[in-house]
Amino acid sequence: MLKYPIFTFFLFLPFLFFVCLKPASASFPEANALLIWKATFKKENNSILTSWTHPKASGSPCNWFGVFCSIDGSVNSLNLTNANINATFYKFPFSSLPNLASIDFFINRLFGTIPPQIGKLSKLVYLDISKNQLTGTIPSEIGRLTSLRTLHLVENQFNGSIPSEIGQLVSLSELALYSNKFDGSIPVSFGNLRNLTFLYLYNNSLSGFMPPEMGNLINLVEVFMYTNMLTGPIPPTLGNLNKLQILDLFENQLSGSIPPELGKLKSLEILSLANNNLTGLIPASLGEATGLITLHLYANNLSGPIPRELGNLKSLSDLELSENKLTGPIPASLGDLSNLEYVFLRQNQLSGPIPSELGKLKKLVFLEMDENQFSGHLPELCSGGLIKRFTLSNNRLSGPIPESLKTCSSLTRARFDHNKFSGNLSKEFGVYPNLTFMDLSDNKFYGELSDNWGSSKRLETLKIAKNNLSGSIPPDFGNLNQIQILNLSSNQLCGGIPKEIGKLVLLLKIDLNDNRLSGNIPHELGSFSSLNYLDLSRNRLTGPIPKNFPNSEQLFHLNLSYNFLSQTIPVQIGKLTHLAALDMSSNSLTGEIPYEIGFLSSLGMLNLSHNRLSGFIPESFQKLPGSVDIDISYNELEGHIPNGKPFQNVSIEKLRGNKGLCGNIAGLQPCKVPPIKNHKIGKGHKLILIVAIPLIGGTSTSICTRWHPDHVRTQKEEFKRCRR
């Protein structure tokens, strides 16, 4: 009998052996399985995974980088964030890691698709494979992961529809699929995800309607579905989501009206329905969503008034209703929203006066209400002294600028243009140390330009065109050393162009046309090397065009027409190789047309008409671009019209009124003698002039004054009026 127990003991010994060693060898197949997957990784400069080698003693992978085990030694978590892994999932041990609860492979170079075997990880609670290069669809087997609480597939190249099996993930609390190429509709089965708290589907190609079943997801706190192609209405059932703090449906194609039920969302802080096709009214009930901090409804087709109930949204700091078809007035109740910082109502059909209650808003930073039909006078508005951007352009506002705006030193960008504002400009505006952009054009301001403007040293754009300004341009404008665009056109400014303007080296565009500026063009204007556009036309400028002027290769538009400029066209004009339009018409320019004009290789329009240019048309005109529109009428030119494209189709209107032009053009006398090289004759002409000038000089001055009596008289009048 004794023999048997010993015998059975030895029989059982191997059994005991295996039982005792079980905990260690339980992870042995797990380590193996992981190594089989690791063997498929593409070689990278990756020292992170050197710990992933076959453990000699224990057979346990639990000390490997990124591998975590539970007490029983079984792998329960893999965390390989940002480990530069370049591999697929095809050999991932889905069947060999039964206790795996957490996978975090955020930021790697995983590629290929998610295999259906993913469904085998039945204990998975956390899955994050975001920011990889994965493709393909989500396998329907994902529906088996009923313990899954967090699913992040963000920023990959997944496509196809979201499988309706996702609706089976009843534990799911956080679902992030954003920045992929998912298409198709949001599955109706989403309505089963009762625990869903965070839903991020933005930046995909999702289409179809939002399922009303989403109204069942009463634990939702944040919903981001912006930048998709969702259509159809916003489900009114969303009004049941009591915990919802953020609803962002920006940039879709949602239609229909804004459901009034959204007013029930007492926890809602951020609501963006901007850039959709919504129609109908802004529901008054939105005023009941008193938690709202940000309300964006811009760029839709909303109509009707701004509900005064919005004045109940006491936490509101960002209100954006621009680009709709809203009508009616701004409700005075908006003045109660003391936290308002950003108000955008631009591009609507709002009317009526701007309520004085808006002056109560001390935290206002941006106020943009341009392109509406507001009328009446402005109330005090910058009471908090914080307004930076203030645009009211393109309305029907009138009256003076209120005192608080005169002292609103926080202004950076202000637009009052295209209204009927009036008042004495020198008293209406103060000094603005941060102002970079100011447009007051097309109003009824009168008075003079004050020296103040020169103290707003950050000004880059100053436009006060089309007003009734008088007096002269202050030399202090020379302090605006950041200025790039200056437009004072269509006023009644007088006096000379201050030479200090020449210091403003950053100027790109100078527009002083249609004023009563007199005196010479300062030669300092020749120093601009970046100037693109210069218009001094329709003034009373006299004297020569300065010799070194203009000096900017980038000048594309030069208009000096309708002045009293005299003497010759400077030869430096030939350097303006990008000039597209050159207009010096209606002046008293004399001498010959310089042949350097032929170098203007970008010229599209040349108008030298109504001057006293003499001599021949330079042959160099042949080099001008063939499509150039030339007008040299009403001068004292003679000789033949040069050959070449520029004159091929010219009409007689552009040539008439000269001394003796001839050529093969209808209406022009044909040339009697063969054409002789112009420059030879030119020299001869110059010789004659050198002799003749002293003789003619004396007589011609008296003749000139007799011919242009108005000119002299006007100058004298100006001298009286223009004090500076």
Binding site: V154, F224, Q554
Partner: protein, 216 residues
């Protein structure tokens, strides 16, 4: 840890989409802003190019017409480097694209063939490579095409000969090959506007077999 990263990403996205009120539907401003992002601008000439403005018409170096469509981009001699972007093709009212005398590299986007109002394309004196896209032949109002002093390769597309408005063509100082077109507008382009292209053969000869130039 990953959750924290995700939270930061979400928070930043909130800020970007909500607090920056965008000028939507202004594809011209977006196209130009795409150009700004791809250019390197040490002199800050593009500092005024603010995508939050409702249109680009108050940006410096931009000219618009009455309908707030961009007609001119004037960035010659502005110390810019980087490369052009396909989005430029969306500027359907653009008449003048002046990007000469910079350090722009990369190729001419084929999308420039969509600039149906273009009168002047000045890309000369840059570092532009690649070929002259034949699709530029669609630019039926083009008058000025100045691509000289770059590193362009390939042939001068014969499609350019179909632009009857073309008056000024300069492709000198490049690395072009093949023959010089002689039809249509090219009848009047002086030969020295093609010089300094070592692999460029002479003017194309009508009626004879084309040269075996290995040029494509």
């Amino acid at each position: 840890m990953a959750e924290r990263i995700l939270f930061v990403i979400v928070a930043l996205t909130i800020i970007c989409t909500l607090l920056a009120p965008k000028a939507l539907g202004n594809s011209e401003g977006d196209a130009l802003y795409a150009l700004r992002r791809s250019l390197s601008d040490p002199d800050n000439v593009l500092q005024s190019w603010d995508p939050n403005l409702v249109n680009p018409c108050t940006w410096f170096h931009i000219t618009c017409n009455q309908d707030n469509h961009v007609t001119r981009v004037d960035l010659g001699n502005s110390n810019l480097s980087g490369h052009l972007v396909p989005e430029l093709g969306k500027l359907e009212h653009l008449q003048y694209m002046e990007l000469y005398k910079n350090n722009i590299h990369g190729s001419i986007p084929v999308e420039l063939g969509n600039l149906k109002s273009l009168i002047s394309l000045d890309l000369y004196n840059n570092n532009i490579s690649g070929t002259i896209p034949p699709v530029l032949g669609k630019l039926k109002f083009l008058v000025f095409l100045r691509l000289n002093d770059n590193q362009l390769t390939g042939p001068i597309p014969s499609a350019l000969a179909s632009i009857s408005s073309l008056k000024v063509v300069d492709v000198s100082s490049n690395n072009l090959c093949g023959t010089i077109p002689t039809t249509g507008p090219f009848e009047h382009i002086p030969l020295n506007n093609f010089e300094n292209n070592p692999r460029l053969e002479g003017p194309e000869l009508q009626g004879l077999a084309s040269y075996d130039t290995n040029c494509s």
